[in-house]
């Protein structure tokens, strides 16, 4: 990988989010708490979801991981907090499609906003899981929170 590719991976948006880590820390109240790990590298995230009716009122998290996984959690929470569950779906779908697209998927900035910065990570097999860790945790938490509310 040449340094231009290095720069396409570590875009300023990513380095900035990795440093600021928006919405980090675990907060109450929450309906679901999940713990996800990336077994190959040991990265971990504990994520809490607070739903208010069908609105994602809060996503709080505590993570240990590289700049890609930290930035991803930060970007995701910024994108999804305040949206209805239905509104989060196309964003989740678009992010997954981009990350699994081997760098061939042209991301839609209107949907993904800052998250388009992870298009560089999508080209690197070893880093895709880093970017997806918190998104997978959110999906899991959403399923659990909704199960509980129907129980």
């Amino acid at each position: 990988m040449m340094s231009t590719e290095l720069d396409s991976l570590y875009q300023d948006i990513i380095l900035d989010h990795a440093k600021r880590r928006l919405n980090a820390g675990l907060r109450e109240p929450f309906e679901a708490e999940v713990h996800h790990v990336n077994p190959t590298c040991g990265d971990e995230v504990t994520l809490r979801l607070h739903l208010d009716g069908n609105v994602v009122r809060d996503i709080s998290y505590d993570n240990q991981g590289c700049s890609i996984s930290s930035a991803s959690a930060s970007v995701m929470t910024e994108l999804l907090i305040g949206k209805t569950v239905a509104e989060t779906q196309p964003i989740q779908d678009a992010f997954l499609e981009m990350m699994r697209g081997k760098g061939q998927v042209e991301p839609d900035e209107d949907v993904l906003e800052d998250a388009i910065a992870f298009a560089g990570a999508a080209k690197l097999t070893a880093r895709i899981k880093c970017a997806l860790l918190s998104w997978m945790a959110f999906q899991d938490a959403l399923v659990r929170a909704q199960e509980d509310s129907h129980a």
């Binding site: 990988m1 590719e5 570590y10 380095l15 990265d43 240990q64 930290s70 880093c130």
Partner: protein, 423 residues
Amino acid sequence: MTTTQLAGLLPELEVIRADFPILGRSVAGGLPLVYLDSANTSQKPQVVIDTMVDHLERHNANVARAMHTLGAEATEAFEEGRDRVAAFINAPSRDEVIFTKNASEALNLVANTLAWARGTLAISEGDVVVTTEMEHHSNIVPWQLLTERTGATLKWFGITDDGRLDLSNIDELITERTKVVTLTWVSNMLGTINPVAEIARRAHEVGAIVVLDASQAAPQLPVDVVASGADVVVFTGHKVVGPTGIGVLWGKRELLEQLPPFLGGGEMIETVRMERSTYAGIPHKFEAGTPPIVEAVGLGAAVEYLSHIGMDAIHRHEQTITAYALEGLATVPGLKVLGPLDAAERGGAISFELDGVHPHDIAQVLDSRGIAVRAGHHCAKPAHARFGVQSSTRMSSYLYTTPAEIDALVEGLEYTRSYFKLG
């Protein structure tokens, strides 16, 4: 002083490097490869590659079954691999050398057959198995499974702050109830070389079996299995410039003969009737099914290659490079080495932390400069947890590593710091 004149390096290092074709390739858009991940897997010399290709091109057949010329040649080549490995580890008998898939399988073989053993080897409730906090997961999990299945208790040696085994409570760990003591010879994370003979002596006083994981030792140290003091020694082929897919289990004959079979199948039998079978003698008793034939042939060539250069000389080279690396790493601001800082007391794997940069990000930036290191927990999560870290970056050298490559690593780490704006 030019770095290539360090005393203790292998003479004709450039000639040795030329034996490894992969070291001649470029990566990262034209940069020379700086391969510092040999504790993960070693590169392969041309002689190993050629020997395996020649075997497949000219001698391929199944072993010990085929009654034809190729079958005889393949069997001879396969068994010659065993002879060469036996000589490499100074085993009293070639029959004590068992081929497995890798070191993990070898450790699982011992742990499983002990779980099934009856009589004096039987392990039951109240018995104790001792491992260490420093182990690779493959020398922890099989013993967790064994103790869960038998009702025995798993205990372990801790690690001191400077990365050595904490032997202060050895009398509490090794008692009359201790049946197995298992440990790594050289740590894959901390690089520590453990006092195997001393621990083995204590274990034998109470009649415990000593299992030694030599996965990181066999590539770097002269190995004499009897002198090690262990009853079982395991290592993997791909870290001693051999191929993947083959590991070695050496065990004392009396123990191997007492243990029940591991996998059932072809080759491991004496005779089979529908009611009951009888088993082959060692080593075949533990080698069910078609074995890794070309891998054994390649491993034989690999250990022959290392012996030709000399394990004493390779060990000296490793120590020299390790000392040089420790010196260089100490100049990087915010860098902390995990494990002993004296090169004479450690192997060639050096794990470290760099303040403010996650190991993944370090490895990524180094990769952009053609430098291959490992980032993560190196399959040693408990040892990382002991030092309060989740992961680390690890450089590991081998007989082909040059001081210039260490210089490249140190420069790469400086660049990493500036890339992430750490001053």
